[in-house]
């Protein structure tokens, strides 16, 4: 870990300004991802702005009938919220499928969206990695890639976004609310929030330097069966090989997003449109442009089979 300075934010605007004033400043929320990365010198901020002082930890109804989730609402509290459990069961289930009780107590809504990949080469500073060190190359392509992405990948990076929560947010059409360093407010649909790796895998979201997430807003509930199915080698405390977040209506239509397959939670309108036809058609549309490696080709089958089981559960 490198030496850094530290301040407690006095307001959202001040935090955003402070963060924008230096390209190496960072917010710290729960710290469960950032601190690990700092210890390994994968992240080396010179200045930390602690935003835990700012409140932003409530869940409120919106006039539109949805929910505004403060950026600092802890994953535990979000998963346990009565309205979330009743109207957005998918979100609650996705959260509880992630990490551990202790981590969820610290992890925040904004931090979770911004957690970085679990590609093992990203974590080893001896190895080339375009995401960690732009232009150095990608060790995972041709290497150990079993966990990594199969769609939306590029020749520069095949990493996945590891969040469970984000998959649910994507299926629920959440909107990320931010404040820019100049004080302007922004609303970013979750579909546009995360980027594909392209030639710039180190850029993971559309946020500007210093842009501050204040809340994540869920639209009014849409009913249906909410199912989150996380597939992994051990029963708990592991990132998804593949996960499926689905909201399925009584007529079989609905929405589906997949985790563990791409640089962002993966959802396509074309795939949603096939849902009533079943898993084969839906997963074919969802993974139409898949470019797996030898080691992770199985994920194509796995997405289809998992989706099949999710649809069966929704019907049953």
């Amino acid at each position: 870990m490198r030496v850094f300075t530290y301040e407690r934010a006095s307001s959202i605007e001040a935090a955003a300004r402070a963060a924008a004033s230096s390209p190496t400043a960072k917010f710290i929320a729960g710290g469960t991802n950032l601190l690990d990365l700092m210890k390994l010198e994968i992240e080396a901020p010179t200045h930390l702005i602690d935003i835990n002082t700012l409140g932003l930890d409530t869940i409120e109804k919106t006039p539109e009938g949805g929910l505004r989730i403060g950026a600092l609402v802890r994953n535990t509290d979000l998963a346990a919220n009565d309205i979330v459990r009743r109207d957005y069961g998918l979100l609650s289930r996705a959260l509880l499928a992630g990490a551990s009780g202790q981590l969820r107590n610290k992890a925040t809504t904004a931090g979770n969206l911004l957690q970085r990949t679990r590609c093992p080469y990203f974590y080893d500073t001896n190895q080339p990695c375009n995401k960690r060190q732009p232009g150095s190359g990608c060790s995972a392509i041709g290497g150990f890639s079993r966990q990594l992405g199969i769609v939306g990948v590029s020749d520069a990076c095949i990493a996945t976004h590891p969040s469970d929560m984000a998959v649910a947010m994507r299926a629920l059409d959440a909107v990320v609310e931010t404040v820019k360093p100049d004080g302007r407010r922004h609303a970013i649909p979750i579909a546009e929030f995360h980027r594909l790796p392209g030639d710039t895998p180190h850029l993971e979201t559309v946020l500007e330097q210093g842009e501050f997430i204040t809340a994540v807003v869920l639209p009014a509930p849409i009913g249906g069966r909410h199912i989150y199915r996380k597939v992994r080698d051990r029963a708990s405390y592991a990132f998804a090989l593949v996960s499926i977040g689905a909201v399925i209506q009584p007529d079989g239509t609905g929405r589906v997003a997949a985790g563990g397959v791409a640089h962002k939670p993966w959802r396509l309108e074309a795939a949603d449109a096939e849902l009533a036809k079943g898993a084969k058609a839906t997963s074919a549309a969802l993974l139409a442009d898949a470019r797996p490696t030898e080691q992770n080709r199985f994920k194509i089958d796995l997405v289809e089979r998992t989706l099949g089981s999710v649809i069966a559960e929704a019907r049953g």
């Binding site: 490198r2 080469y121 080893d124 089979r305």
Partner: protein
């Protein structure tokens, strides 16, 4: 004392304390955080400095130069010691790859420097500033490739055995099997990382470390650092798991000693988690070919087991065929092992080396063979039991009750409820049952102890034996209490200190039986000293209720001790009973799994182990060993695999997020049954090892259960869902 004739009745047979279900006497220290592990020796008066290791970032080559200027001038830095600055060093006797010294890089994360600073954070930050110029060399990292040029190692490693004529018998057998199985590289992944503190006092150094084998470490540390062994004081009273990863000197101790010398301060060094995987040792991967031929009635007539593994030049075999030499009958047999050169980190012992990966393969093969014969796999094993070493039929087993384990286990598990492959279902779960035999040889090593009796009537045992979480403190106290007729609270046990008599140490499941035998021998000496002091005829002396009695005289032990106290010290050594008789431990594992019909995720639903391992010295600590081993077996079956990057030559998943050991949610109800038996050939304790037996065969039982559930036979571990889904039923 030399144990060279079978044990007859002795004071241990009273079983007033030995054999009783006693909770570990150090348990409270551990649960209250007062048991000090290596890194935790902390005296606020001592200004410790912190060392952080630097590992090679290449797998093979040479270091042209190192630039430590930035590190040296970084905040808080006290010293930087590099592999170049210390120069070539003699290697420890037990190390294959060198730990430190010289310009050669033999594997990834081999230690090349230690940075010592005022704080841990400063040391770590400065370590990242060390710049290295390498001359990279090509290496061999892929066992599948390297096996083509694998060689037969020295006869001392016993690569080949044969009896009868395997080829002819196999060719003419009515039913045959010829399959190849693979097991991956595995990591010990114990909770406590390798950690040491070194403090110099003049030309003497004290090292607190985490070591399974005090004397081996002390000798190899002396060799590596060219210090007189007598000048090294090594302490390792508590160890947070080892599994073989702490059998041999590791670099944390070397760097702490060198760092302390350079910084002129006591220095603490803990290996970061990734070092555990690429800097230290691991269980090597194997490729195993098994051929079995049998008559239609199920009698094995031919059995062959060949295994390939790799290691650094000068390294050792993973002896995966060991159990096949002894487990099943069959007149015609052969085994062979070949060693490939690999430039991955050093392969070496991990819990039940040889048998653990060997049984992963053999016990699937036996399951497959039973199916070909249309026999129940329990019956097939019983039919092919042997009471003699099948390669040398004149050599009987000292005691062998594999059949009893299989029969009792089948009954308790309701084995007869097993269905046909792919036939049983519970909702989305395909349900299967699997069985495998457990087998592990019983080893003994010389073991010494000193036992003191003081005037308060307290007996203190001192031995350099280690407790790696196994319960050594407790069973040693039980042994001394039994021998001297005392309650447990009158016995104190001090372990893991090089000032104490050299013991067997912990490993190879030899620790419990060997070390308690050493304590037994020392107690016999103390009993003699007490009797002699009191003028008792030692033949009729009885030690009971804190008193020593002869005829109608009885004296409290406290009084017998006198002002000066009395001491007994001895080392148990072993005669040739292990040569005249094959001494092994046996068991049977039964497992029920569910395989998700859609995703192929396999989850264990219940596990049963039945163990025949001589006298069980303490059923609580023994059970802990077995359930821990079953847990490790679950990891081996389902998730544990060091992923080799065959281009870059290292294990990629080098942390506990990437190397997945089981978590609580993976481990269901576990039941352990011990057969009520003794083995008088093994020692005066009549006990045998049990700590590794529990691992042997578990993974194969799980593999067989997965087959029974799904109808998909997987022959390469771990059995992850990607290997199953292709064979599972279509999902609508």
């Amino acid at each position: 004392m030399k144990f060279d004739t079978p044990a007859t009745t002795n004071p241990i047979d009273q079983l007033k304390v030995v054999g009783q279900p006693i909770h570990r006497i150090d348990g409270q220290l551990k649960t209250t955080g007062r048991a000090k592990y290596a890194y935790e020796w902390h005296d606020t008066q001592i200004p410790y400095a912190y060392g952080y290791p630097v590992g090679a970032s290449i797998a093979k080559g040479r270091i042209r130069s190192m630039d430590v200027a930035a590190a040296q001038t970084a905040p808080g830095v006290l010293a930087v010691v590099t592999t170049l600055s210390v120069g070539d060093r003699e290697k420890g006797k037990f190390n294959t790859a060198k730990l430190f010294g010289g310009d050669e890089v033999q594997h990834y994360h081999q230690a090349i420097a230690v940075v010592v600073a005022e704080t841990f954070e400063q040391a770590r930050a400065a370590a990242a500033l060390v710049k290295v110029d390498y001359a990279v060399e090509a290496g061999a990292f892929d066992l599948k490739e390297a096996m083509k040029t694998a060689e037969k190692p020295a006869e001392s490693q016993q690569p080949d055995t044969a009896a009868g004529n395997f080829d002819d018998a196999f060719a003419s057998a009515a039913v045959t099997l010829d399959e190849t199985y693979t097991t991956p590289d595995q990591s010990h992944a114990m909770m406590e990382p390798h950690a040491s503190i070194a403090a110099w006092n003049g030309d003497e150094v004290t090292v607190w470390t985490s070591s399974q084998m005090i004397d081996w470490w002390r000798s190899d540390l002396a060799t590596t650092l060219d210090i007189d062994k007598e000048k090294i004081h090594l302490m390792s009273p508590f160890i947070g798991g080892g599994f073989g990863g702490k059998l041999f000197l590791r670099v944390d101790a070397v760097l702490a000693v060198l760092g302390a010398r350079a910084a002129k301060r006591p220095v603490k060094v803990a290996l970061p988690r990734p070092f555990m995987i690429n800097n230290t040792t691991h269980r090597p991967a194997t490729i195993q070919r098994i051929r079995i031929g049998a008559e239609r009635d199920g009698k094995i007539t031919a059995i062959a087991h060949e295994s390939w593994s790799g290691d650094q030049p000068g390294g050792q075999l993973e002896t995966a065929v060991a159990q096949t030499r002894l487990l099943y009958a069959g007149a015609n047999r052969m085994t062979a092992m070949r060693l490939a050169t690999l430039h991955l980190p050093e392969g070496n012992a991990m819990r039940a080396p040889g048998e653990a990966p060997g049984l992963m393969a053999l016990e699937i093969a036996i399951d497959e063979m039973a199916e070909k014969l249309g026999m129940d796999p329990v019956q097939f094993r019983i039919l092919n039991d042997t009471q003699v070493d099948p390669e040398k039929p004149q050599r009987p087993f000292s005691h062998r009750d594999l059949v009893g384990c299989l029969k009792l286990g089948a009954e308790r598990f309701s084995w007869d409820s097993r269905g046909r492959p792919g036939a049983r279902r519970d909702g989305n779960w395909l349900i299967g049952h699997g069985v495998a035999a457990a087998f592990r040889n019983n080893l003994v090593l010389p073991s010494g102890a000193r036992v003191r009796l003081n005037r308060e009537g307290i007996v203190t045992v001192e031995t350099d034996m280690t407790d790696i979480g196994t319960g050594s403190y407790t069973i040693i106290a039980q042994t001394a209490a039994e021998m001297l007729g005392l309650p447990l609270d009158k016995v104190a046990v001090h372990l893991g200190d090089s000032r104490f008599p050299v013991s067997a140490g912990s490993g190879g499941q030899f620790g419990a039986n060997s070390s308690t035998s050493g304590v037994y021998a020392a107690c016999v000496k103390l009993r003699e000293a007490i009797a002699a002091k009191l003028g008792f005829n030692s033949a009729d002396v009885v030690f009971e209720n804190g008193e020593v009695r002869s005829g109608n005289r009885s004296v409290p032990l406290s009084q017998a001790a006198g002002e000066q106290g009395l001491v007994g010290e001895d080392t148990m050594t072993w005669g040739d009973l292990t040569e005249t008789h094959q001494q092994s431990t046996f068991g049977a594992h039964f497992v029920e799994v569910g395989v998700d019909v859609a995703t192929g995720e396999s989850r264990i639903r219940r596990m049963l182990a039945v163990c025949a391992a001589g006298r069980i010295l303490n059923p609580i600590t023994a059970r802990s060993q077995v359930i821990g081993a079953m847990t490790m077996g679950a990891g081996g079956a389902l998730s544990e695999e060091l992923a080799v990057d065959t281009r870059r030559g290292f294990f990629v998943n080098h942390d506990l997020a990437g190397y997945e050991v089981p978590v609580h949610a993976d481990i269901p109800h576990q039941e352990v049954i011990f057969m009520d038996e003794t083995d008088p050939m093994s020692s005066p304790m009549k006990a045998k090892g049990v700590g590794e037996l529990g691992l042997c065969g578990v993974a194969a039982a799980i593999a067989n259960a997965i087959y029974n559930a799904s109808g998909v036979r997987v022959r390469s571990y771990p059995i992850t869902l990607d290997k199953l889904i292709g064979g599972l039923p279509e999902i609508a």
